[in-house]
């Protein structure tokens, strides 16, 4: 989770958290706890697979800037693309990460609605 947050931190202006914090100030990315782990994808603890969510909160949905930021973060390429930035990283904690999908949602923080994208990361690496 830390490695993912560190890589996301290379996106200019995006505050990144390696675990869910008590509160966030958008735009922010929060690496959630793994939703699923599949052990023993190969013999001898050779490979495990993790599904990890990353929530990117941008701003109130009625703001034009929020829409623009949402588009940039969810794009398939570009300097602010979560997919492009994460998949271009070099990691030692695992072998490979693929940003498989995102879903749009609205999060309510301190009484304010915020546009958010929930990314699904598929991470593979050697079992320990």
């Amino acid at each position: 989770m830390q490695a993912i947050a560190d890589q996301l931190n290379t996106i200019a202006g995006l505050r990144c958290f390696a675990w869910p914090p008590g509160t966030v100030t958008p735009p922010a990315a929060v690496v959630g706890y793994p939703e699923r782990c599949t052990f023993d994808e190969t013999y001898g603890r050779g490979m495990d697979l993790l599904t990890v969510p990353v929530v990117v909160i941008v701003g109130p949905p009625y703001q034009r800037q929020a829409r623009a930021a949402f588009s940039a973060y969810t794009a398939g390429s570009g300097a602010s693309s979560v997919k492009a930035v994460l998949e271009s990283g070099t990691y030692t904690a695992f072998d490979a990460v693929r940003v498989a999908s995102w879903d749009q949602d609205v999060y309510r923080l301190a009484g304010v609605d915020y546009l958010a994208a929930i990314f699904e990361l598929q991470i593979g690496g050697k079992g320990t």
Partner: protein
């Protein structure tokens, strides 16, 4: 007697442990069957002949230099090397099959939305040594 999970299976080819890159393997042993039916019989009679065996394995591609499936298997295509398979894993008294194989085919598959996979097919040559593992 107990069911055995496949996750501990060990496979090596030409002395290289490939287990960590393999997710499935099949070791098929067979024999020729000859028809020996003679006049006067109402049912066919068969006899066993020469034994044969094939081995297939597949798994997830890994580009680790020297030990990954591509690095190990690709140079062995067309050569005869030793295959060792321990279906219940490594341990004293556990079963083991050792046999020379001709590495017949190595295939890499690259789906857009999944990890790169590979398969390997081998033709076994000569007898299979099924002596259990020693201490």
């Amino acid at each position: 007697m107990a069911f055995q999970h496949g996750k501990d299976t060990y496979v090596s080819l030409d002395g290289d442990d490939l287990s960590a890159y393999v997710d499935s393997s099949d070791f098929e042993q067979s024999a020729d069957v000859s028809k020996l039916t003679t006049y006067g019989k109402d049912s066919h009679v068969y006899g066993g002949g020469t034994k044969d065996a094939t081995f297939k394995m597949s798994g997830t591609y890994d580009n680790t230099a020297g030990t990954g499936p591509r690095a190990v298997i690709q140079p062995l295509i067309g050569t005869t090397v030793e295959l060792v398979r321990r279906i219940e894993g490594t341990g004293s008294g556990l079963p083991q099959d050792t046999v020379d194989v001709v590495v017949k085919k190595y295939t890499e598959s690259s789906p857009a939305a999944d990890y790169v996979k590979w398969t390997c097919e081998c033709q076994c040559s000569d007898d299979v040594d099924s002596t259990a593992q020693s201490a």
